[in-house]
Structures are given as structure tokens and as C-alpha cells.
Point group: C2
């Protein structure tokens, strides 16, 4: 369940268990580099997996959305969720097809989402989300008004039952395959930001802010 | 359910319904640009969401994995799955916090995964997966042997009940916010490949293959 006690039976990495990581520091580093999660929930026995943005504050993950969405309508009933964050780092080209792999870091969190009811905590949750994605943007934007806050729900998921799975490094081939005549190695993959595109109606005398001009998720 | 009949009640985009897309051509273009999906399934009422690679062949999606994994152990019982593919295209910076958004293209497929039993179809499924991720790699690698094929399961998910959700373009602000003095626009995001890193034990006389040297998912 936590750093001290190790994974729960539900979050223990079963396959390639040497890739399992359970310490909060590593898990939080992955969560802080990412900002898109995939939220899993169940409606009438059918799983749904929906991508959404998130922010972390301490031992809580916050997601938000319209109260009108299918996800929010279901999650605010306090049903179990699985939140998964995946960072893709590269393609791993082995000599054998079988040993091809990916370099990645992923986190799985099991828990229950609760709607943030307290207005001050809700505003703080939205602030957390905004700053997690684009630090510095909040204060430069037009602040949310009451109507907008009403139309938005913030959900809190405590980071209690979790695990990470990490694979990095070169291909690992069977010993007898190292003489096989094919190129082997890693193609690194990275999410990069391109030059910001100003909105046509953006005033020309407003410079591109630094957080947009040099956007990067790299925290390593 | 399909191009002709529109979305099912389960795949209809509820929130921001103008972003819903239901034609196979658009959906397949998204599926063909991506290669990592998030698979959702339910065990004892608890949803799990696991990232994995996939390949598309016609109207089927194939995923694979070790028969020993939690996902495969559960999926081969023929339980309902949700497969979600998300391509992130940019951060959308509006004048108001409330109208901040992301540019993205995502696909949700609901269905049931079946284990590919026929050995020829299984090999074909693994070939599809490999070529989907890295076209040209299969023939240059050491082919799978019987033991490896036994340790690998391939699963087929028919693409029957699906929808996509797409947001592109500049921020859309409330009319009265356009005069608000802050930069507004889009920070484009893109997954890029860096220069391949040869394995230390890679023979120096083997050149980096073109599919690794100029790797790109761009299909647009």
C-alpha cells in the first residue's frame, strides 16, 4: 500500500516483477512529469477508460471536469477508480522479435474519487491542476467566476494504493542471439513542445510568456 | 455502433458533443498514428487500466502480452474491455482559466477480447503488432520460436462499438474576455524520436536502419 508496507495484492506487479516500483518518491516523480492520466471506472459491468488532465498536491491527485460528463456523473457516486499515468521513453529493438520492448514509466493508482465540496478546496484543486500543467499561468488568466466554478467539478483521489512499473535501458537478448546480424538499440521518444501559435485575436503587443515559449515536462 | 448507424448509447460523446467523431476513417487514422493504448478491465468490481502496445489489421485491434500477466489472465476469460488511444496535440491557453483546454484526438473502443487460438493467425497478429509500431523490423529480426510463441498470447478486439473525440484549433473565449490582457494561443505538443542509441553489444559494422533513424508516427 505504501513505501513502508509495499504493494497490495492488487497493485503488486505480477509480470516482469523486477520492474515493479513502490516508493512514493519515484511514483511522484513520474506523476509530476506527466499531466494526462487515463481514468478507469465501471458502469453496469462495462469498464470505461477516459483520458483527462490531473494535478498532484501532496498525497492527493486532483482531476476535474464538467458535471455534465459521463465520467463525472459516475465518479461522484464514489465508485472505485483506477488512474494510470504512462510516460513513453523509447522503442527497444532487440535481435529477436520476442525481446523487443518499450522503455516507459507508468503508475497505477487504485482508489475512490470524492467530489471536492468545500469551495475553497475546490478553487485550490483547480489551481493545483492549472499549475501542474503550466506553472505561472493561473495568475495571468482571467479568474474563474461563480458560474464557471459551479459548472466545474473537482475530484480528489488519495494516493494510497499504488505501484509503478519502469523499464529503461538497452535491449536484453538471449545470449545466443547477440551474434544475430541486425541492428539493436533504443529509439528514444520524447514529448516536445513546438513554437507557440498565438491566437489570431491575441493582441500583438503581448509577448509569448516564458512558460509557453520554453515548455518542457522534463523533471529528471 | 458503426459508420452507418452512429454511436451506441455507451460510446456517444456526452460532454462537448460537437467533438464526437464516429466515422471509421477518422478513427482508424488516430489508431494508426498511435501505438500505445490503455486497456480497461474489471476484476472483482475494481477497474484496472494498463498501458500496452497494439496493432490494427482491418477492423480488428490486436494486443499481446505474457500469459502470466494479470491483464492476460483476466482478459482471456472473455470479459468486457475498454481500449482507449489518446494522442495529445497541444495545450490551449485561453484568456480565462475556465476556457483552457487541450488539443487531442482520442478513441474509445468497447468490446470483448478473444485469445487468438489459431497458430497462423497468432503469428499474423504478432506480425501486425510489430509492423504497426516499426514497419520493416519484423523481417530483420530473429523470428519467434515455438517456445516464445507459447509464452505469448495475442488478443483480438473487434472494432465494432467505438467513438472518437477530437479537439483542435485555437482557444475559444467568452466574447467579453478577448480584451483581457494576457497571451492566448496554442503550445503544440508532439511525440518525437531522438537519435537511435546502439546497444553496446551491437556490431559496429551494422548501420542504423532507416525505420529507426527517421522514426515518426506522423500520418497526417
Amino acid at each position: 500500500m505504501s513505501q513502508a508496507t509495499g504493494p497490495s495484492p492488487r497493485t503488486r506487479v505480477v509480470r516482469e516483477s523486477e520492474r515493479g516500483v513502490y516508493d512514493r518518491e519515484t511514483v511522484y516523480r513520474i506523476l509530476d512529469e506527466g499531466f494526462i492520466c487515463h481514468v478507469g471506472f465501471v458502469v453496469d459491468g462495462q469498464p470505461f477508460v477516459i483520458p483527462t488532465s490531473y494535478g498532484r498536491s501532496g498525497d492527493n491527485l486532483y482531476i476535474h471536469g464538467s458535471a455534465a460528463s459521463r465520467m463525472l456523473r459516475n465518479l461522484d457516486r464514489g465508485i472505485p477508480v483506477c488512474i494510470t499515468v504512462t510516460l513513453l521513453d523509447g522503442l527497444v529493438l532487440a535481435r529477436s522479435i520476442f525481446n523487443h520492448s518499450m522503455n516507459y514509466r507508468s503508475v497505477v493508482i487504485l482508489g475512490t474519487a470524492s467530489v471536492v465540496q468545500d469551495p475553497a478546496e475546490k478553487l485550490e484543486a483547480l489551481h493545483t491542476l492549472s499549475e501542474h500543467i503550466l506553472r505561472g499561468r493561473w495568475t495571468e488568466s482571467r479568474q474563474p467566476n461563480e458560474k464557471e466554478l459551479k459548472a466545474t467539478s473537482a475530484l480528489r483521489v488519495p494516493i494510497e494504493e499504488f505501484s509503478a512499473k519502469v523499464r529503461q535501458g538497452p535491449p536484453i537478448d538471449d545470449e545466443e542471439d547477440y551474434s544475430f546480424r541486425t541492428w539493436a538499440g533504443v529509439v528514444p521518444l520524447e514529448m516536445v513542445a513546438r513554437a507557440p501559435i498565438p491566437d489570431e485575436r491575441c493582441r500583438h503587443d503581448i509577448p509569448v510568456p516564458q512558460y509557453a515559449a520554453s515548455y518542457s515536462r522534463q523533471r529528471r
